[in-house]
Symmetry: C2
Subunit: 271 residues, 2 copies
């Protein structure tokens, strides 16, 4: 845990109760937030998504201001850094029914900011197609919950460090996202991104980019996309709260260019 | 945690490292084992299923004999009790890729044996249909992994203590199992149970019952079953390592009888 500092329910800790439902069932949600210049980037959006996920799972939400102050306390001005917040349904016994009066558990941790090659943002990344599929369940779609075995299995499919990400389809051949990033493509000047009604995580940076596009007058559509449509797009890029926008320059054997729409969206600032 | 005792990697503990991948991603498997007369019931089957699940997830398996001796040590002759074993991919940083050399984490815990009304085994149980669906992914089907949000959401659908279980369908209307039990039905003297190629947990008691049926000369088929077929069956029952066989006497408004095949299978012993 070098360089990592953790608060569990506001107290410095390096461990979580062994019977926590986050461990037993993945019964919770998480957020991964970029901290720069001592601030939590896009905090309001992260908090809103977390509250929405907790509400959909029926987990009582902690006060977001409490989470924010714990995160800022942990940050202590050190940045860039990554703040990860996990909220679980709390302590359990055995069995899927939560014990009456279970109180949610807050786990806030600070991590070193990852170092990716600068060329990945500047020149674009290579990605592969994953064999591992995302299963479809509208009840869980969009939520950044703790059931992430599909992403773990997909991420294990490659170990070539030159490959930055893996693209995932759902079990009925629709392209959904990358293992830890949302996917956009540009076709005929319009921005397209997979509709996340069956699976996928509704990323904070995805929402930011969609709003940027609207401000720039670039039409945006959430739709169903197949592998062919991704590979034949004019431009493709990936979004993530930590890595921002990565243009995609190669998908397997298919070569793409970091085109003008991607560049324009990358340069645009948010209010 | 009253009445619960835990070993983490063989050491008495009440907590697991906050960055464990079991908590972060549900990256692991579990077993729930009945301990009676100081013994772990069906240990070989539990161990085999756990090893199979770990292999499919690419998690290095701990020595099953080590797990067994930890469980027996924790049991210390106290029974009946429940032994729960969780094995996760171990400590992580952030990100889906496991750190090189991550060693699996063993979490063995002892719990009080649950007390269900005796009439549930003798006279049968009432069950409901859950709205929550199981998503389909052959890569994870059958494994008793830690991604259990669907079961948690399904179990939250009812709080009437007279309802013992909830039956779940997958996202394409096939009946799969109950939230924590496998499902069997009897039709024209044959035993039918949902095929678990897309989702569901391949229960230890399910396998035991299928073998008992074979020994008794009752034909057994794993197949696709719809809600109508379950409700119009001659007999329906649920299996689980702790609760054994529960005949189903009511599904919502549909009344069934604990018939002769169920009774015969319940009485049969396993060498």
């Amino acid at each position: 845990m070098s360089g990592v500092v953790v608060l569990v329910n506001g107290e410095p800790a390096d461990a979580v109760p062994a019977l926590n439902r986050g461990l037993a069932y993945g019964d919770g949600v998480f957020e991964t937030i970029a901290a720069r210049d001592g601030l939590l980037e896009h905090w309001e959006r992260h908090a809103r998504r977390m509250l929405s996920g907790l509400a959909r799972l029926g987990i009582p939400a902690p006060d977001p201001e409490l989470l924010r102050s714990e995160a800022l306390g942990l940050l202590g001005g050190r940045s860039p850094a990554v703040i990860k917040i996990i909220v679980t349904r709390g302590e359990g016994g055995r069995g899927y029914a939560p014990p009456a009066g279970a109180a949610p558990t807050r786990i806030v941790s600070r991590h070193p900011f990852p170092e990716w090659p600068a060329a990945w943002t500047g020149g674009g990344v290579r990605v592969c197609w994953c064999e591992t599929r995302l299963s479809c369940n509208p009840l869980l779609a969009g939520i950044k919950h703790l059931n992430r075995l599909e992403q773990v299995l997909a991420r294990r499919e490659w170990d070539d460090p030159a490959i930055a990400e893996g693209l995932m389809m759902d079990t009925v051949d629709r392209v959904v996202e990358a293992t830890a990033r949302n996917l956009f493509l540009v076709r005929d000047g319009a921005l397209l991104t997979p509709r996340l009604t069956a699976c996928g995580v509704a990323g904070v940076m995805r929402a930011v980019i969609m709003e940027r596009a609207e401000r720039l007058g670039v039409p945006v559509e959430e739709t169903e996309l197949g592998r062919d449509e991704v590979e034949s797009a004019d431009e493709v890029f990936l979004t993530n709260s930590l890595s921002g926008v990565w243009p995609v320059r190669r998908i397997g054997g298919v070569v793409l260019e970091a085109g003008p729409v991607t560049r324009k969206l990358m340069m645009q600032t948010d209010d």
